[in-house]
């Protein structure tokens, strides 16, 4: 531009977007949000189909879903959809909002929605299984989409309506299966409030679209004009940058952050005291139910009683996490916990009781080495694997081994490489492991699916790592799926049965709730979500799939600290 080497004066607001692009080389600090904790390397793709490794914000900021899900109110929030309802038991109808435009100016229509869901017919698209029970998707008119089901899995459907990105048919049409699944999708065209501005080795930069539909339709506007998401190689680097005020939000697990929150460092977390964070998922101890002695429910229950979770929570995590309830259901699902079941069949750390349970079940220390032997008298030495380098889990595993020793169970922690662990896990070649791969969702259904899914395959890749084989439980889970999501009582009836089975058989043992790690600095942005006062109650996370669970709403609540 003609400015030559003379520095251009700071852009004023009225110039809006134009000004921002005119001098995009240096982002104005007061209008930029710096985040980290999602991405660990260079941004790889902008493909919303790749919900697990697309660049931060691909889904949620650039592409959007029909609904969002409000975790506090436990209900769907219409988003691209104006409304959605079951017109009969197997037909679901969505009405789209008027006037939504793609970032290239084309209007969003029912055909885009149809296209997006029909992409799932491709075998390798992650939501392909939807078509096992979805019969058809039709555009009734430009604003109306009708879904017809062969089997109405209400719980799963709700999950789908807030999880699946809606893609522009006019751009994606004709892409091959390979391109759909593997394409980088440079220059994504979405409906969302942001678009990608640039990327580099360690970051992506998103720029707000000032013509975003939600401004008027939802009366919402995310406050940061720019979002820069940084890939930090490690948690401690993130903490360092946070303290240097280079970052506004870190979604990393930052040990010791409690000290900083209490001190005067301008750092906040959701709660000002333990556990500091909302809960995001449950960490489970997964015993291999097909192996001796873990195939014995009595043993598993004794094991559950032998673990001093408090020690982990306090010792390893410095109270950054919360001990899990015996059901393992996240606090957000508290209403589904059947207290009667818990009080009659629950468990708690009690070494003496664990010892007794063991000996009652026939596990005795016959050779006097302080550890019980198998029923047949053979030595018992169980290995607990967690991925090498996951320090908090490694420490936890050590802690578990120590407390199990108190009850006479010999556990040796082992730290294989992550990939080796994945392989062992899917082949069932392990004694015990720790896993937390199910996140908070709209329904405990997803949790019970994770716990009980059948049939057990040779390779168990994502669910039921314990290989717990209980037909009745799986039937119940499927029944739960068929319960309408607003029928809370109907759901409860099934979940309490499932809890009974879980606590009786203890296929997997809940340990603690991992936090929805969100440490924010108040130096540039304030009004971060917090448990106290009038602050927003949503989660401040940039993690993939969490924008729909309140992450996006949090952005709209931010306020610049300067003003």
């Amino acid at each position: 531009t003609g400015g030559g080497s003379t520095p251009t004066p700071p852009a004023n607001q009225t110039q809006g977007q134009g000004a921002a692009t005119a001098n995009p080389d240096q982002l104005p600090r007061s209008e930029t949000l710096y985040t980290t904790g999602t991405q660990w390397g260079p941004p790889a793709n902008f493909n919303p189909i790749r919900e697990w490794d697309s660049a931060v914000g691909t889904k949620g900021l650039v592409y959007e879903t029909l609904f969002h899900y409000d975790t506090t109110a436990s209900k769907l929030t219409p988003w691209l959809a104006e409304s959605g309802s079951w017109t009969d038991d197997s037909t679901y109808q969505v009405k789209l909002r008027q006037g939504i435009k793609w970032s290239d100016g084309q209007p969003l229509t029912a055909k885009d929605v149809v296209f997006s869901f029909e992409l799932g017919k491709m075998e390798t698209v992650p939501y392909h299984n939807l078509w096992a029970w979805l019969k058809s998707v039709e555009a009734v008119d430009d604003q109306t989409v009708k879904f017809t089901f062969s089997k109405a899995n209400y719980q799963q459907w709700d999950f789908n309506v807030y999880s699946r990105s809606i893609l522009p048919e006019h751009i994606w049409k004709g892409r091959s299966e390979k391109e759909v699944l593997d394409g980088v999708n440079e220059n994504p065209v979405g409906t969302g409030a942001y678009k990608f501005m640039s990327k580099d080795q360690d970051r992506v930069v998103l720029q707000r679209r000032d013509d975003w539909w939600g401004k008027t339709a939802l009366n919402m506007e995310p406050k940061p004009r720019y979002i820069v998401d940084i890939a930090t190689p490690s948690n401690e680097v993130a903490l360092g940058m946070l303290m240097q005020k280079g970052l506004d939000l870190s979604n990393n697990f930052l040990p010791g952050v409690a000290n900083l929150v209490k001190g005067n460092f301008g750092l906040t977390t959701y709660y000002a005291e333990p556990p500091y964070h909302l809960s995001a998922n449950t960490a489970w101890l997964v015993p291999n139910n097909t192996k001796k002695p873990m195939n014995d429910p009595a043993f598993r229950k004794a094991l559950a009683n032998s673990i001093d979770v408090k020690q982990i929570v306090e010792g390893v995590y410095g109270n950054l996490v919360k001990a899990a309830s015996p059901t393992g259901l996240l606090p957000q699902w508290e209403q589904f916990v059947d207290q009667n079941v818990v009080s009659s069949s629950g468990f708690a750390f009690d070494a003496a009781k664990a010892k007794k349970m063991l000996s009652d079940a026939g596990y005795k220390d016959t050779d006097g080495d302080g550890f019980v032997e198998n029923k047949d008298g053979s030595k018992m030495n169980l290995t607990l694997i967690v991925p090498s380098g996951w320090t908090d889990w490694m420490e936890s595993a050590r802690s578990i081994a120590t407390s199990a020793k108190g009850a006479g169970i010999q556990i040796t922690p082992d730290f294989p490489d992550f990939n080796a662990l994945v392989e062992k896990r899917s082949r069932g070649d392990f004694d015990m492991l720790i896993n937390n791969e199910r996140q908070l969702s709209n329904s405990p259904y997803t949790y019970y699916e994770y716990m009980f899914q059948l049939p057990i395959q040779k390779q168990q890749n994502t669910v039921n790592f314990a290989r717990y084989d209980n037909k009745k439980a799986w039937d119940l889970v499927q029944q739960l799926d068929q319960v309408k999501t607003d029928d809370i009582e109907g759901m409860k009836k099934i979940t309490s049965q499932l809890q009974q089975i879980h606590l009786d058989d203890m296929p997997i043992i809940p340990l603690w709730y991992n936090g929805l790690w969100a440490q924010s600095s108040t130096s540039v942005w304030k009004n971060w979500p917090a448990g106290a006062g009038a602050a927003p109650k949503t989660g401040a996370v940039m993690w993939r799939n969490w924008f729909e669970l309140g992450g996006f709403e949090s952005l709209t609540q931010l306020q610049p600290s300067g003003s």
Binding site: S234, N235, G240, L260, G318, T391, F415
Partner: protein, 294 residues
């Protein structure tokens, strides 16, 4: 890293006694050895003094050095002094194992190539050059990551297996010049075989040089091990100074101001390796009259 020098021809007069005389008067050698021995001693008897297991959680997390915890505690209340003394042991172990293995391979290859010459030399030399050019840390990274190194000993083994080439090269050069000495011919004419000549004629003449090579290999192994530990590819069992460093950074000791967690292990590694290098220079001066301060 200090480079090894050619062994200068020795003065004939009283090599041994003179060496000892200069050894005890060589400040560098004595300081270096002193530091190394002090730390070695600490690593030997330290673990007997502290009864806490190095990784055992204690009641006072994050406390700075005090009378009770000499070097303070970690985020988990582990006694850093206990970790430190155990870590010293592993560090010495890795040095001895890694340095030892590398020295042995380097010696075998160097001696054989240097003494036999010809095609054997060509082949061994090529092998040496190949391994020399390969960035070994990268290879170690891969090996460590995929083999899942468990113990300090295995770590030492792998380090030893990749560290030997420069030693082999140096020893080869030395052997080359020694084998033209006439006492080697004389030994041949006394009916000694190759192995015997290497072991009984060549090697004893390079003993100081071999020792210095070992020292450098020792230091190198310690440094490499600490790097591996630091990036999380260290042994999964036990404590080492490198693992302490790794833990301290992973648990943000830096940002939380817990200097007592990350300063001692690094300082100890530096002290051990540095002292060895200094001692090495001292040794060089002892054995090589030209280097002595006049």
């Amino acid at each position: 890293m200090t480079t090894l020098q050619e062994v200068a021809p020795r003065e004939r007069a009283g090599v041994r006694r003179e060496a000892l005389y200069f050894a005890v008067r060589n400040g560098k050698l004595m300081t270096g050895l002193g530091i190394v021995l002090a730390l070695l001693l600490l690593g030997m008897i330290g673990p007997l003094l502290v009864d806490a297991a190095p990784n055992q959680y204690g009641p006072q997390p994050m406390s700075p050095p005090s009378g009770e915890y000499w070097l303070g505690t970690t985020t988990f209340g582990q006694d850093i002094f206990a970790q430190f003394v155990h870590g010293l042991r592993s560090t010495f172990a890795v040095g001895v194992i890694g340095g030892g293995i590398a020295a042995v391979i380097g010696m075998v290859v160097g001696f054989v190539a240097g003494y036999l010459g010809g095609i054997v030399d060509e082949v061994l030399n090529m092998l040496t050059n190949i391994i020399l050019v390969i960035p070994t840390l990268a290879v170690l990274l891969i090996i460590n990551a995929y083999l899942g190194i468990r113990s300090v000993a295995v770590q030492g083994l792998f380090i030893g297996l990749t560290q030997w080439p420069w030693a082999a090269r140096a020893i080869r050069a030395q052997t080359f010049s020694l084998r033209t000495r006439e006492f080697v011919d004389l030994a041949r004419m006394s009916g000694s075989g190759t192995g015997r000549i290497i072991a009984r004629e060549v090697a004893p003449n390079m003993s100081s040089y071999l020792f210095m090579t070992f020292i450098l290999l020792f230091g190198g192994s310690v440094l490499i091990a600490s790097s591996l530990d630091f990036i999380g590819l260290g042994p999964t069992e036990g404590v080492s100074l490198g693992l302490m460093l790794q833990n301290s950074t992973q648990w943000s000791a830096l940002q939380l101001g817990m200097w007592w967690w990350f300063v001692p292990p690094g300082a100890a590694i530096t002290a051990i390796v540095g002292a060895l290098y200094v001692a090495n220079v001292g040794l060089d001066e002892v054995f090589n009259p030209k280097l002595r301060e006049t």
